[in-house]
């Protein structure tokens, strides 16, 4: 290990037993982009969909052929935000809900970088809801990856802004009485230039949407619908990880398939709609800012 001096300086013991054999990382391109000196397995529960989203994000970046040093991952707090720790890119692990605020600063300082903000549903919409709508309004060149598991998993299963109506949580023992936030509709209304949604069952579709979102110049949002089987699934009797994965397969419909249905059936649709909802172009903030600097400096003597 070439970082042995770091461990030595901090008097840390390097746990060799947790590290995989050297040739394991060489077996696929996805594994090449993981941090080689990080302790694995990941902290997530057995069967959690967040690991699948991590794989999809790595494959999307790999597909675009981006340099690792030109990609910055900004994460907040929560189960989802732990994702940034395991990947070998520039990473920023920030305070709860402020991932987009830190990402905005990073993008203005380094407009050449591809900035990806990784957030959970509570992180993006409750604590950081304000940052979410204003980053969309300014059209910052950031990709927001919102992993929606409908609950605050890490803190013990409190209901979040996306918990479905009637869903039980530890802070809603008789069922949630608040209507959930539609993440994609909110992002479109606030002015995002690319909005798409997919589920962890449709991982390859998620790859495609993430690759399109990252290559987009303006603010792009990808909602990855996941599940939390250890708190939300247990409290609502939804079964194991495989049961919840199967329910994502059965209870989701592609946007193209929904559009072909008669209007009266579309109106009563309760399934998760997968697909790309908007793909437009609008002046991106850092570009407008650079133009302003040129104009103002050129105008002076």
């Amino acid at each position: 290990m070439n970082d042995a001096h770091i461990y030595e300086a901090h008097d840390l013991k390097h746990d060799e037993g947790q590290l995989p054999p050297e040739n394991w990382f060489d077996r696929s391109e996805t594994l090449q982009k993981l941090r080689k000196n990080k302790k694995f397995p990941t902290i997530w529960c057995s069967g959690c969909g967040i690991g699948i989203v991590m794989g999809a994000l790595i494959r999307a970046i790999d597909h675009l052929g981006l340099d690792n040093d030109k990609v910055a991952l900004v994460a907040g707090i929560g189960c989802t935000a732990r994702m940034a720790v395991y990947m070998d890119f520039n990473t920023l692990h920030t305070t709860h809900g402020r991932a987009l605020a830190f990402a905005t600063g990073l993008k203005i300082a380094r407009p050449d970088m591809k900035v990806i903000a990784i957030m959970g549903d509570g992180d993006a919409l409750a604590i950081g809801g304000n940052h979410f709508i204003h980053t969309a309004r300014r059209n910052m060149g950031i990709t927001a990856l919102v992993v929606n598991n409908t609950i605050y998993g890490m803190t013990g299963g409190q209901y979040s802004p996306t918990t479905p109506l009637g869903g039980r949580a530890t802070t809603a023992p008789y069922g949630n009485i608040e209507p959930p936030f539609p993440i994609c509709d909110l992002a479109i209304a606030a002015g995002a230039t690319y909005v798409a949604r997919s589920t962890v069952y449709h991982a390859l579709e998620l790859d495609k949407f993430l690759a399109e979102a990252i290559s987009k110049d303006g603010f792009s949002v990808v909602e990855a619908v996941s599940y939390c089987h250890t708190t939300f699934g247990r409290l609502n009797k939804l079964g194991t990880a495989t049961d919840m994965m199967r329910s994502l397969k059965d209870n989701s419909i592609a946007k193209s398939a929904l559009d072909r249905l008669p209007p009266e059936e579309q109106a009563v649709n309760t399934k998760i709609v997968r697909g790309k909802f908007i793909d437009t172009d609008r002046p991106q903030y850092t570009q407008v800012y650079a133009n302003l600097i040129t104009r103002v400096q050129g105008g002076e003597k």
Binding site: Q18, P20, W24, R27, S28, T30, L31, L34, F40, P41, T42, W44, C45, S46, G47, C48, G49, I50, G51, I52, M54, G55, A56, R59, V200, Y201, A203, L204, T240, A241, T242, M245, R246
Partner: protein, 86 residues
């Protein structure tokens, strides 16, 4: 492509692969696996089966793998790699 069979009525030196279509090879790194059953439950040709003692998947029918990449794209712990055989 492990197995080859001779076709009756044809010259004996002509051999064809047992199954058509792409084939794959599965690698599992069991130390990273947490035993969530996703790969075993969803594998279309049932290449994998759960080892009850260790709560880890085991490759029981390697010749059936069609390199569909479901298990390696859906493994939450990135403990599976599928390589497509030529």
């Amino acid at each position: 492509m492990a197995e080859v069979i001779a076709i009756p009525g044809q010259p004996q030196n002509v051999v064809l692969p047992a199954k058509k279509g792409p084939r794959g090879e599965v690698f599992i790194y069991a130390t990273w696996c947490k035993g969530c059953h996703i790969c075993v439950e969803f594998c279309p040709p049932k290449v994998l089966a759960m080892d009850a003692d260790e709560n880890r998947p085991r490759i029981v029918a390697p010749e059936k793998c069609t390199a569909c990449h479901f298990c390696d794209t859906h493994c939450p712990d990135l403990a599976i790699v599928v390589r497509k055989l030529e």
